[in-house]
């Protein structure tokens, strides 16, 4: 059970930070607001009773990925171009497109059954581990190969070309 006030506060944090991420001019500030979004989503996982996923969200998203993105921003913003626009001219197309998609999703969700979020099982982390290692063991192993491939690919792309 989650108190409605807590849910709406978390939702406000997530949506507000997300709006600032896509609209603010300064890209470094956008990265900081992205961390705010990640923290809000971690709170939402706690409200959905999944504490392990909240911990993973905090560690991987607001720990590793946010640091990686901020590092990338600092590496690539040598000349701070205040005069250049931060958005392209697709806004007039993208805004009705996104609004239409949101309207469509609201229509699709309008017939959802009213199911409350209640604690389902005592030891969810234990169950998640069992499911991960029994039902989804093949995807679990493939993910490690994907991570290795991404690591090698990042090194190969990011390496300076040697003049031979």
């Amino acid at each position: 059970m989650i108190h409605p006030v807590a849910f709406y506060a978390l939702a406000a944090v997530v949506i507000l930070c997300a709006l600032l991420v896509v609209s603010v001019r300064n890209i470094f500030h956008a990265g900081l607001f992205l961390i705010g979004t990640f923290l809000g989503v971690a709170g939402l996982y706690v409200s959905l009773q999944n504490f392990f996923l909240a911990a993973v969200q905090l560690l991987v998203y607001s720990g590793a990925i946010a640091v990686l993105i901020l590092f990338g921003i600092m590496m690539t913003q040598r000349y701070w171009s205040e005069k250049q626009p931060s958005h392209n001219r697709l806004g007039i197309v993208a805004l009705p497109l996104c609004g239409g998609l949101f309207w469509l999703l609201i229509q699709a969700y309008s017939h959802l059954p009213q199911t409350q979020i209640v604690p389902v099982m005592e030891n969810m982390i234990h169950g998640m581990g069992v499911v991960l290692m029994q039902v989804y063991v093949v995807p679990f192993e493939i993910i490690s190969v994907v991570l290795l491939a991404a690591m090698i690919g990042a090194i190969a792309i990011g390496k300076e070309k040697e003049e031979s």
Binding site: I2, I15, L53, F71, G72, T76
Partner: protein, 105 residues
């Protein structure tokens, strides 16, 4: 009373915001950040909708476990995306996506 519907609407809004950012931002790293927002929206949906299967243990836990895979894919995607952004920066000295026209004939 907070139901699954509330989470679904929240994640739809988050996804739409991320889509708007991915379409309109010029900076490559900003586009990556918008894509991260969309991943998060999908994750919230996975966890929220799994509460429709709270009487079947495996189906319920599948929804709770799946975001882990999404997070792993997102991590590798950000790694490769940032390497591409750095490579673009070395070639063009900017990371604006409209300057990535090397393949244009």
């Amino acid at each position: 009373m907070i139901t699954v519907w509330h989470y679904a609407i929240l994640s739809a809004l988050l996804f739409v915001i991320g889509l708007y950012g991915a379409l309109t931002r010029r900076n490559a790293i900003s586009v990556l950040m918008s894509v991260e927002l969309m991943f998060n929206a999908a994750n919230i949906n996975f966890v929220a909708f799994s509460y429709y299967f709270k009487n079947e243990n495996v189906a319920f836990l599948a929804g709770q476990v799946f975001p882990l895979f999404v997070i792993a894919i997102a991590a590798s995607e950000v790694t490769v995306g940032l390497a591409l952004a750095l490579a673009l920066y070395r070639n063009r000295s900017v990371v604006n996506l409209d300057s990535a026209d090397i393949l244009r004939g």
